[in-house]
């Protein structure tokens, strides 16, 4: 029997551009053409000024570690505990949940405000997840 798999996102019309982006190796955010607000998660209008004139752009993929837990139990399907569930503050402003790879999953290694960069993990032909690793240099 196959191992239970990690929960997989199912895109909607409003979020498809984000998931197309991760598949193409890009972290895509949206910016309001009227008030310049950068926001996440995706939606076709600005949650700050309600303008429907918004643009999708490629984010830098850089951010910092805002907060996290190291989950021990119960573990989600597809995860081997202990694993960190992290909140990344992107350089462009918005925050997103992710996981930290290439890093021990310990309080000592996971320092708040450490610099991170995006990495992409392909789940299948349709879905690639944006994960983060400690920034080089």
């Amino acid at each position: 029997m196959a191992e239970p798999a990690r929960a997989k996102p199912k895109p909607t019309p409003e979020t498809q551009h984000f998931w197309d982006g991760t598949q193409a190796g890009e972290l895509r955010l949206q910016r309001c053409d009227a008030c310049a607000n950068v926001y996440f998660p995706p939606r076709p209008f600005c949650p700050s000024c309600a303008s429907r004139k918004v643009s999708v752009f490629k984010a830098s993929g850089r951010g910092t570690l805002y907060s996290y837990v190291i989950n021990h139990r119960p573990a989600a399907p597809g995860f081997t505990p202990p694993y960190a569930i992290a909140i990344v503050e992107l350089d462009e402003g918005p925050r997103m949940m992710s996981n930290i790879i290439d890093c021990p999953q310990t309080p000592e290694a996971l320092e708040l405000d450490m610099k991170l960069e995006v990495a992409f993990e392909k789940l299948d032909d349709k879905i690639t997840l944006p994960l983060f690793r400690p920034a080089k240099g």
Binding site: V69, P82, I87, L112
Partner: protein, 379 residues
């Protein structure tokens, strides 16, 4: 809303609390409702308004045999019942109904007649949180804690002291699930759940329920129990995604609902004799003390660790033992309200002598929603 125009005239929990393997969730609602109706000296036919969460008002109304003219199915998590009290008070004042029954029950432990919670893969939570390993409240609710601690200079020992102090209150309460004394070291050596939180900093998982009956303050004097008046109320919501909170060093929903209730009540913090802050996890009382304006966030950890909220302290907090030690069926807000009402009636197991004002603050989801009710026993 005007002060002291509506009162709680009936209040009761389910006959049993804890593990109740012989009752379905809907029957737990009925058990609590029948106890509250008896407490108020009413008949089922006297009830013309009904509010509940998770289960629908039509489900509970039909099961109990009630024909309401006002219903509220607000379901925003564990503080839904604070919002029901606020909405019911407004409805009674507006003349939409006269006598409202609010019920909560959950077969949280035994899971009899309870739908499991699920997150659709195409919801925003399903797309932007679920794939990263969140799995139930213990993996989500503590996510803001490390940032809160760093911003405000709070220590692990201070947060552990929340559980220690609440166990002291629970020891005075025969109905509390956990009564044995614990130390800060016990908390910090207990089993790791989601760093930085260990099992003794996470709420219990139990079965149970509770119900309240509200009517106009003018009618309340004719009821058998001492009326408990609604002095002030507040509510708000922020986001269903913990990752998208505006900031982690404070809760926006708390900061809207709490001060709104204080303003409506026309009281200052020094007037508060008794305080309930919904404690699904040990950090919530710290957020509550700060966001409700009792003190700067920087002082909340020390305030609790120094014993100010313990029995005999200057601000008695979570006097039933809280979600950490009393009980927690999943949506704890109803039990916080029950304890506030007991304290205002003067019948709590760990009664705060002479208490006249009780503040009851609830959270829903992972800081997703909030409701605050301020009670008094003087009109």
């Amino acid at each position: 809303m005007r002060r002291n125009q509506v009162a709680v005239v009936g209040a009761a929990e389910t006959t049993e609390l804890g593990v109740i393997p012989n009752m379905s969730q809907i029957q737990l609602h009925a058990d609590a409702a029948l106890n509250a109706i008896a407490d108020a000296g009413l008949k089922l036919s006297d009830i013309d308004g009904i509010a509940t969460a998770v289960e629908t008002p039509q489900q509970i109304a039909h099961y109990l045999g009630i024909t309401p003219t006002w219903v509220d199915g607000t379901s925003v998590g564990g503080c839904s019942f604070m919002l029901h009290v606020r909405h019911a008070a407004a409805a009674i004042e507006a003349g939409l109904c006269k006598t409202v029954l609010i019920t909560h029950a959950e077969s949280g432990k035994s899971m009899i007649g309870k739908q499991p919670r699920s997150t659709p893969a195409d919801s925003l939570n399903g797309q932007f949180e679920q794939p990263f390993g969140v799995y139930g409240p213990p993996s989500m609710f503590p996510i803001p804690v490390l940032r809160y601690m760093k911003t405000h200079g709070i220590t692990h020992e201070q947060i552990a002291s929340v559980a220690v102090v609440q166990r002291e209150w629970a020891a005075k309460n025969p109905r509390a699930t956990m009564k044995d004394p614990i130390t800060v070291a016990d908390v910090l050596n207990s089993r790791m759940i989601a760093y930085p939180f260990r099992i003794l900093q996470c709420c219990l998982v139990t079965d149970g329920g509770g119900a309240l009956i509200l009517t106009s303050a003018d009618r309340a004097k004719d009821f058998p129990r001492k009326p408990v008046y609604i002095l002030g109320t507040g509510e708000s919501v922020e986001t269903p995604m913990v990752s998208q909170m505006k900031t982690f060093d404070s809760s926006r929903a708390f900061k809207v609902a709490g001060p709104m209730a204080f303003k409506e009540a026309g009281i200052a913090h020094r007037d508060v004799d008794h305080l309930m802050i919904y404690d699904a996890f040990a950090h919530l009382p710290l957020y509550g003390l700060g966001d409700l304006g009792f003190m700067p966030h920087e002082e909340t950890g020390k305030f609790i660790a120094d014993g100010n909220t313990r029995p005999g302290g200057k601000l008695p907090l979570n006097t039933n033992g809280g979600g950490l030690s009393y009980m927690h069926s999943g949506m704890y807000g109803m039990y916080a309200l029950q304890e506030s009402v007991r304290q205002m009636r003067g019948i709590a197991p760990a009664q705060v002598q002479g208490a006249k004002i009780s503040v009851c603050h609830g959270v829903g989801g992972m800081f997703a929603a909030s409701g605050t009710i301020i009670f008094t026993n003087e009109r």
